[in-house]
């Protein structure tokens, strides 16, 4: 019996699967997401897509995407058929964007395979947003996988292209390749030391953007940052990838240097912060999701520095996802208001951390 597509996001076991727990630099490079923006030739873009045409785009794509044989667990889900909680679960796992989940209306859908870590959003800002998401620093393999997906969809769907500008997109910031590579980094030491501002400056000079935890338009929270390319036109996909990947080792070294410095010079302060965060997570009775992410960020640093040997990194990553609002409700098995969520979140975190002793 094939598993239902809902089994994935209805299960709490797999919540943090897409984050890195091994491989080089997994302590800092959490995850890599690469996406391509595409539109279907012959249809207006979203800004001028009336309800009937939006339905037509959706069914045009549904028919073609469903025919692709990508993975045994592939699924095509219309957002209209999902509860708002299910939609939020997909968002919290970075399977769909904030815009698709919350901001946009009309017929939207997602085609995804959990095993392949890929998803295709339908009627996002562009008709199609193809993305792959993988742990840590594996961008070359991910890009190859994404290009393969693009070629397979492109064989079924006529993309809107231009002889001079390449792939045409709703927003000209995506035109050309439609490629956005976003690497999520955990940079607590750079934030503590306030050197993060210099990271922003340096990134800006290299035409890279630094975004929040959930990508564009989301908050900086828990010392997690997404570094991504701003330019999409005039360079090959390899070159764009290289633009992002060449700065990663520098950022990783930078964060490591600062970690070493803080550890050497402010040992007690650092330990105090980490153990305090652990203590609050372990004993608090009420906690917001923002507080949870921020405390987990400190604990994550502690785990990476070997200060909390009893805690596996995998668990910390998992708790980062499971402490978000929709996942707290999934764990509770019912919808909860804000306050009940904060109570349930604190309960759950206490329980999980108690298990590790």
């Amino acid at each position: 019996m094939a598993e239902s597509p809902r089994d994935w996001f209805a299960s709490t076991d797999s919540a943090g699967d897409w984050m890195a727990v091994d491989g080089p630099d997994h302590d800092i490079v959490v995850t890599t997401r690469i996406r391509l923006a595409r539109n279907v030739a012959g249809f207006p873009f979203r800004a001028r897509l009336d309800a009937a045409k939006a339905r037509a785009v959706e069914s045009h794509l549904a028919e073609r995407l469903k025919k692709l044989e990508l993975a045994a667990d592939q699924a095509y889900l219309r957002l209209a058929d999902l509860s708002s909680l299910e939609t939020e679960l997909l968002f919290e796992r970075h399977c769909i964007s904030k815009d698709l989940a919350r901001e946009l209306d009309g017929p939207r859908a997602v085609f995804f395979s959990r095993r392949k870590n890929l998803s295709v959003m339908v009627n996002e800002e562009d008709h199609l947003r193809l993305q792959v998401l993988g742990p840590g620093r594996s961008p070359e393999a991910l890009l190859e996988q994404l290009c393969d997906l693009d070629a397979r969809i492109g064989a079924q769907v006529a993309y809107a292209t231009h002889p001079r500008f390449g792939h045409l997109t709703s927003c000209p910031t995506n035109v050309g390749t439609g490629l956005r590579i976003s690497v999520m980094l955990h940079l607590p030491a750079l934030v503590w030391s306030k050197e993060i501002e210099k990271v922003f400056d340096a990134a800006g000079k290299m035409k890279l953007a630094v975004r929040g935890y959930h990508g564009e338009g989301t908050s900086y929270v828990g010392d997690f940052f997404q570094v991504s390319n701003q330019v999409t036109l005039g360079k090959s996909v390899d070159r764009l990838l290289a633009d992002v990947t060449k700065v990663l080792p520098k950022l990783v070294d930078w964060e490591r240097d600062v970690r070493r410095g803080v550890r050497k010079e402010k040992t007690r302060t650092l330990e105090d912060r980490i153990w305090r965060a652990y203590g609050v997570l372990r004993h608090a009775r009420r906690m917001t999701s923002t507080e949870a992410i921020e405390l987990l960020s400190s604990v994550r640093l502690g785990v990476c520095l070997g200060l909390l040997p009893q805690l596996p990194l995998r668990l910390v990553n998992e708790l980062l996802v499971l402490s978000q609002p929709a996942h707290v409700q999934l764990l509770a098995g019912r919808e909860l208001d804000d306050d009940s969520r904060d109570l349930a979140r604190a309960d759950y975190l206490r329980k999980r951390l108690a298990e590790t002793g």
């Binding site: 207006p44 001028r48 693009d150 500008f165 501002e197 701003q230 360079k235 390899d238 105090d272 923002t290």
Partner: protein, 201 residues
């Protein structure tokens, strides 16, 4: 449940920061976005591409005072595009070509895609395993080999020369609006050359 900013006590606290003070002690700050900015911290929400982009469009579109034309296909005007930062259809790129090109140059430092549009993503992601001995010949080359191109820096330098010549010409003819536009483009390009291309090597 709203937590108020510790500074102004009026706005909701949206930026939460832990700082280490001079003595190595921990200070927890809860600030609103305004006070956080004053404190030298990034606002909790980074500027969106759209916001940055709007600024660029505004600059680029002081160019033309011609009446706002509509795209014959979707009916959108350039003003509407400016307001939302989103085109209405694929034809807009041609319908507003004269404005689109400088805009793309500002945003991307280029106004031309490399290689044929259809082959974009397929454009050869090199397979590191393919160099191993006995490896099967690579799959059929994707569409066209990449054209021999000048480096981006060369292209930019050439474009810069062209723009400077153009600037001299329009100043002579007293077309100051056009001259201002050219000046902005030249400055942007010079900046790019100074920073971006140097990084690209």
């Amino acid at each position: 449940m709203t937590e108020f900013c510790q500074r102004c006590q009026t706005e909701a606290a949206k930026v939460h920061v832990t700082e280490i003070d001079k003595d190595g002690g921990k200070v927890l700050l809860h600030l609103c976005e305004g006070c956080a900015k004053g404190h030298g911290l990034p606002a909790s929400t980074p500027p969106t591409v759209l916001a940055v982009f709007k600024e660029l469009v505004d600059k680029a579109s002081t160019v033309s005072r011609t009446r706002d034309r509509q795209c014959p296909e979707c009916g959108i005007t350039f003003a509407e595009f400016k307001a939302k930062g989103r085109f209405g259809c694929a034809h807009d790129y041609d319908a507003f070509l004269a404005r689109v090109v400088p805009l793309l140059e500002r945003v991307h430092g280029a106004s031309e895609h490399l290689g044929p549009g259809d082959a974009v993503a397929a454009a050869a992601v090199p397979d590191p395993s393919a160099t191993a001995s006995g490896a099967a010949p690579a799959a059929p080359a994707p569409v066209l080999p990449p054209p021999a191109r000048k480096s981006a820096a060369d292209q930019a330098a050439q474009e810069l020369k062209r723009l400077r010549r153009e600037l001299v010409r329009v100043v002579k003819s007293e077309a100051y609006e056009e001259a201002a536009r050219l000046r902005d483009r030249i400055q942007a390009l010079e900046k790019d050359l100074a920073k971006g291309f140097e990084v690209d090597g």
